[in-house]
């Protein structure tokens, strides 16, 4: 191999803050000793160890930009989960959290790679895409970005206020929401699952050759990726990552 394998060692990060985003998600802000930085879109493996040595591992996407000092992980609480309820309900500032990473070199974007950037998220699938949006801002980059974000309800739009703030001051960042279960009175956005018609209306055209990143539950990812190819997008420029109780 051209590159020498480097060992991804386990290390103990310190939880410096936890912050609820929506009723079902929480952000964990971590200080990771000797963190060498990451690329927007990458993830880490988290390992929990009980006193008797029992262990459980899961992967979580990094939502923070590489430029941020702290590493932010977005955790969605799965009621029947083993790891996520611990992270959202038990873990608090001052605790240690064992992890290794960053991991994953495919579903990642650096500002110098250019765009335009088409980001499509379902629920907590926003995490790696948020890292890209934050990275673009931190890098002072102005490639056009469109984010199509599917959430169950208005209350469950993750990072809603920050996304509004970012888009308000940036004409090259467009955010389009769709709500799949309930919408507040007066809602003027989409109210259905993402389909080819919706993508045809809001996505860049295939001729504009956007780099597309699609992240969410498998049915959303399958539907969006298939629709984008149907709309003439180059399959090689459509990158997918599946999230969910069992996918990530």
């Amino acid at each position: 191999m051209a590159e020498l394998p480097r060992k991804l060692a386990w290390r103990v990060a310190e939880v410096v803050e936890t912050s609820p985003d929506t009723p079902r998600t929480k952000s964990l802000f971590l200080e990771v000793p000797d963190w060498e930085g990451h690329r927007a879109g990458q993830h880490v493996d988290v390992r929990l160890t009980a006193e008797d040595g029992y262990q459980a591992e899961r992967s979580y996407s990094i939502a923070s930009a590489p430029e941020d000092g702290r590493v932010e992980l977005l955790v969605e609480r799965l009621d029947d989960g083993e790891v996520s309820p611990y992270l959202t309900d038990e873990l608090r500032a001052g605790d240690g959290l064992e992890l290794r990473g960053p991991i994953g070199g495919w579903f990642a974007w650096e500002a110098r790679e250019g765009g335009p950037l088409l980001l499509v998220a379902g629920g907590s699938g926003i995490a790696p895409l948020m890292a890209m949006i934050r990275h673009r801002r931190a890098a002072g980059n102005d490639v056009p970005v469109r984010l199509l974000f599917s959430s169950r309800s208005y209350e469950e739009i993750i990072f809603r206020e920050e996304l509004e703030r970012l888009a308000a001051g940036d004409e090259t960042l467009e955010i389009i929401h769709t709500l799949t279960r309930s919408a507040p009175p007066g809602w003027e956005g989409y109210e259905r699952r993402i389909d080819e018609e919706m993508l045809g209306e809001v996505a860049f055209s295939g001729e504009e050759r956007p780099l597309a990143f699609v992240c969410g539950p498998t049915p959303l990812v399958e539907a969006v990726a298939t629709a984008l190819v149907g709309l003439g997008h180059d399959p090689a420029r459509v990158k997918t990552e599946r999230f969910g109780p069992t996918g990530g």
């Binding site: 991804l8 029992y54 459980a56 069992t246």
Partner: protein
Amino acid sequence: MSGGFISRGFRGRRRRTEDDDRVPPGQYLVDGFPVLSAGPTPHTPLAEWSFTIEGEVDGPRTWSWEEFRALPSEEITRDIHCVTKWSKLGTTWEGVSVDTLLEGVNTAAEYVVAFADGGYRTNLPLGEVTGGKAWVAHTYAGEPLSPEHGGPARLLVPHLYFWKSAKWVRGLRLVTEDEPGFWESLGYHNHGDPWREQRYWGD
């Protein structure tokens, strides 16, 4: 180093069952069948599908879908393990043994590169796909393999992490030198034995 670290307040929701010794380190059991792939799902019509053995061989051999399906198939029941940490026990498949596909092939190759629609590639030592250890599967749980799970046919190498079981596989290229594939070039382990937790480079 982080040896001896305990996660304060973590007890875990253990499933102490007789299946415990079938779950490799760092894995957890799922009942569903998660999907993982890096891009859009290819949809190659069966009329255009073929499977090819090429590279360090006397001459390439190719099967059409009909010819491939006329080869003897085996029923396979195996546990499968994805590097994203899920494991699924007792999955049932039907497919053509790689031994059958390589029957009569003379080669000096020690490695294979499995190649697939969509450009995906994964590398394996030849010895890891011969001797009854690997198949080209066309049926899952009694049904034709669906596109999102790699249909019409995928490589099935259940003793390694599942990214080695290339979806939408279209052939094997026999090579004398190992060539890291897609994930293997992106930080994932070259070999991928779940029992030795070979997830990433250096594991």
